[in-house]
């Protein structure tokens, strides 16, 4: 029996075990929406903006490890997904976006709601397709899921012209798939792996740099095993947080521009960096020429282009980090008894000294709420057992610093692209993947307004997502840079006219709370968690607060600014560019 393209599309999603998609209807995708109307097994979450749909699919994917799916219409529907797609691309998240397209005969005619979305998204997808024949549809969907989820994952877009979804074809599902020009490498090179193991056992001051690839590959157990077995301290990139327990004695927390003093010092003084699924972003390395001057670098990554892109690498290993780490651990264990604890004693002692010298701190305050205090309280009250999403800026950095992530897939944050407005829709996606888990978006008053319309989505689907707004009435990170590097000229970073977030929440049918004093913080968080509804918490925080430590852009990562230098004018001068 022949099915319509729309029916084939739905069958394909079921074959891929998709039960939740995010989307927004429009003219040329009505064929599909009409089939969805009767379907009992496939749930479409109607967001209030296509960008929200893609971020929600992305959050769903990050939290669950399964691909996220979005369905939108042509033209503006499709172009609204671009930020979400670029965001998923930078952070290697398997998101599959289906966009409607005008009928094939009209393509190129500047038809109503036509956009060349395949052309527009070419540089920010892992791959994209324009389906020209309904007979190709099922194979293309199969290939799209395969490409999105294998190798280094990433977003894939499929453009569906209207006549393809209305056309008829037999539904043929290719069980096995092979793309001759796409063969990701999973097993690492044996010789390189042996070299790596040798270096790890020879090193006096080694450090593991664990990135987002560890979480994507599910290699967190292996990282822990390697760290504990060979007594190697671990620092993480923003994307890597949760890949190694933040409460572990060997954890140094995050490194880089707003990394901990001890992580950055350890990197700069190390003699061996074992970089695992990390890509040496400029926010991690600071000034590249001054990065880890004494260290050999082992770089394990499934994407060959990540290796030697930004930093020199001594031992490159292309492969799946989980498999490669298993091999390295095996070789290390075969080496027989090595007195790891003895060998590492001096190095770990040095790191302990750094930890004591400059721990992460902030000013305690009885009068004004400090934003870090809010995050510490959320951590204490939840005992770390929550899925945390963030927006971008100060809220994101304080979360990375003050919330200790012990498990992978519990921090969902826009790392590469730095997308304000990501956290709230991502929290909605995560909540749909895990209806019984506590999901909290830690936001700023700027970021939350970038996708605030998704309150409607959260409320209508009864999603008990919590949003903690660290409200300082500024674009805080922009303000911080302006204070430090632009002589306190706060050009267009003051959000003095802001909505009443409590009333906004209530207007949408959610619950709103406000805290203006430190003593109100804890009760409000506890109440918000108790209520099984969407809750906005408006924390009025100290507007002058800055994220420290901080490496000024272009500086070496051990050249940090610290909070206690706040009032030393000569130190401030150093930072002025």
């Amino acid at each position: 029996m022949k099915l319509s393209g729309a029916e084939i599309f739905i069958e394909c999603l079921k074959k891929e075990k998709v039960n939740t998609i995010f989307g927004y209807p429009g003219g040329v995708v009505l064929n599909i929406f009409d089939v969805l109307y009767d379907d009992k097994d496939l749930k479409l979450i109607l967001t209030r903006h296509e960008q929200g749909a893609v971020h929600a699919a992305d959050g769903y994917a990050r939290a669950s490890g399964k691909p996220g799916v979005a369905l939108v219409t042509s033209g503006p529907g499709a172009t609204n997904t671009v930020t979400g797609i670029a965001n998923a691309s930078m952070d290697s998240i398997p998101v599959i976006v289906f966009s409607g397209q005008v009928p094939t005969l009209l393509i190129g005619n500047d038809a109503f709601q036509e956009a060349d979305i395949v052309g527009i998204t070419r540089p920010c997808t892992k791959y994209n397709f324009l389906v020209k024949d309904v007979n190709d549809l099922s194979r293309i969907v199969r290939e799209a899921f395969y490409i999105a989820t294998t190798g280094r994952p990433g977003p894939v877009l499929i453009d569906l012209p209207k006549d393809v979804t209305s056309g008829k074809a037999d539904f043929l599902w290719p069980e096995k798939i092979r793309i001759r020009s796409y063969n990701p490498i999973y097993e690492g090179n044996r010789w390189m792996i042996t070299q790596a193991a040798n270096e790890i056992s020879k090193a006096k001051k080694p450090i593991i740099l664990s990135g987002g690839g560890v979480i994507l590959s599910g290699g967190h157990k292996e990282v822990k095993e390697l760290a504990e077995y060979a007594q190697v301290p671990v620092t993480m990139t923003l994307m890597g947080l949760g890949g190694f327990p933040g409460t572990h004695a060997l954890s140094l927390g995050m490194l880089g521009m707003h990394g901990t003093y001890y992580a950055n010092m350890a990197i700069q003084n190390s003699d061996l960096i074992v970089a695992i699924g990390a890509r040496f972003d400029d926010r991690v390395t600071g000034k590249v020429d001054a990065f880890a001057p004494h260290a050999k670098i082992i770089h394990i990554d499934i994407d060959p282009t990540s290796i030697r892109k930004n930093v020199r690498v001594d031992i490159p290993i292309v492969g799946d980090v989980k498999l490669v780490l298993r091999d390295i651990i095996k070789i290390l264990k075969e080496k027989g008894k090595i007195q790891w604890v003895e060998i590492r004693k001096a190095w770990l002692k040095k790191i302990d000294e750094w930890k004591k010298e400059r721990p992460l701190t902030y000013q305690k305050d009885d009068i004004v709420i400090r934003p870090q205090f809010v995050i510490e309280k959320i951590y204490e009250i939840t005992k770390g057992d929550a899925i945390i999403t963030t927006e971008v800026g100060q809220n994101q950095m304080w979360t990375a610093q003050f919330f200790k992530f012990d498990k992978p897939r519990t921090l969902l944050t826009s790392g590469g692209l730095g997308t304000m407005g990501y956290g709230f829709p991502a929290a909605i996606g995560a909540q749909l993947a895990f209806p019984d888990k506590l999901v909290i978006d830690i936001a700023g008053d700027g970021s939350i307004q970038m996708n605030i319309q998704e309150l409607a989505t959260a409320v209508i689907h009864k999603l008990p997502v919590k949003v903690a707004i660290l409200n300082n009435q500024y674009l805080g990170m922009v303000r911080q840079w302006q204070e430090l590097f632009f002589r306190e000229r706060y050009s267009y970073s003051h959000l003095d006219v802001a909505p009443d977030f409590v009333k906004v929440a209530e207007a949408y049918g959610a619950v709103g709370f406000r805290a203006t004093k430190p003593s109100e913080v804890e009760p409000i968080i506890k109440d918000a968690i108790k209520i099984k509804k969407t809750v906005f918490m408006d924390f009025r925080v100290n507007w002058k607060e800055k994220v420290y430590p901080m490496v000024p852009a272009g500086g070496a990562i051990d050249q940090m600014l610290y909070e206690e230098e706040e009032n030393k004018p000569e130190k401030k001068l150093r930072a002025v560019k």
């Binding site: 395949v118 052309g119 070419r122 540089p123 892992k126 791959y127 324009l130 490409i147 793309i179 001759r180 020009s181 796409y182 994407d303 060959p304 282009t305 030697r308 892109k309």
Partner: protein, 162 residues
């Protein structure tokens, strides 16, 4: 350093744009690019001439390999290989120079592929040096139109990496 990179790709629409987009998006330079079908009509071959230091060339070949539609990338510069390109040039020499133009074509083993009342169209094939030398010599004879293919390259039999 200048590199000639040979790329086997799926013969699909959009592939050229993926490749050129990779170069423009990452700030790499394309000096010349040729595309044509191979014996297998599903596969095309591109020959790209680009310049960069070792790190850039390494990134270019890796990034090319990463594209889903790319089947194989060969940096010809690392191999013993043959390179050719072709120019078509329409010249309008003065009456007294016509013989000289024809002689030049002969010296470069070119051919006259079209001749009119006032013009000759010459075809010259060769490696870059030869083509450049020919262009230098033909310039004084009033070039009306000029078309150059860009390089194609192929490895010699049984060669290993240099």
């Amino acid at each position: 350093m200048r590199h000639t990179i040979s790329v086997l790709v799926e013969n699909k629409f959009g592939v050229l744009s993926r490749i050129s987009g990779l170069f423009s998006g990452r700030g790499y330079n394309i000096e010349s690019l040729t595309v044509g079908e191979t014996i297998d009509p599903q596969i095309s071959i591109m020959t790209i001439v680009t310049t960069g230091d070792d790190q850039i060339i390494e990134q270019i070949t890796k990034q090319l390999n990463k594209l889903i539609d790319v089947i194989k990338v060969t940096d010809m510069t690392e191999l013993d290989h043959v390179e050719r390109e072709m120019v078509l040039v329409k010249v309008a020499p003065k009456q007294e120079d016509k013989a000289e133009v024809l002689r030049l074509a002969e010296i470069f083993r070119g051919r006259v592929v079209d001749s009119g009342l006032t013009t000759y169209t010459l075809e010259i094939t060769g490696d870059e040096k030869k083509i450049e030398a020919f262009i230098e010599l033909i310039k004084p004879y009033s070039i009306k139109e000029f078309a150059r293919t860009g390089k194609v390259a192929i490895s010699r039999e049984g060669v290993k990496k240099k």
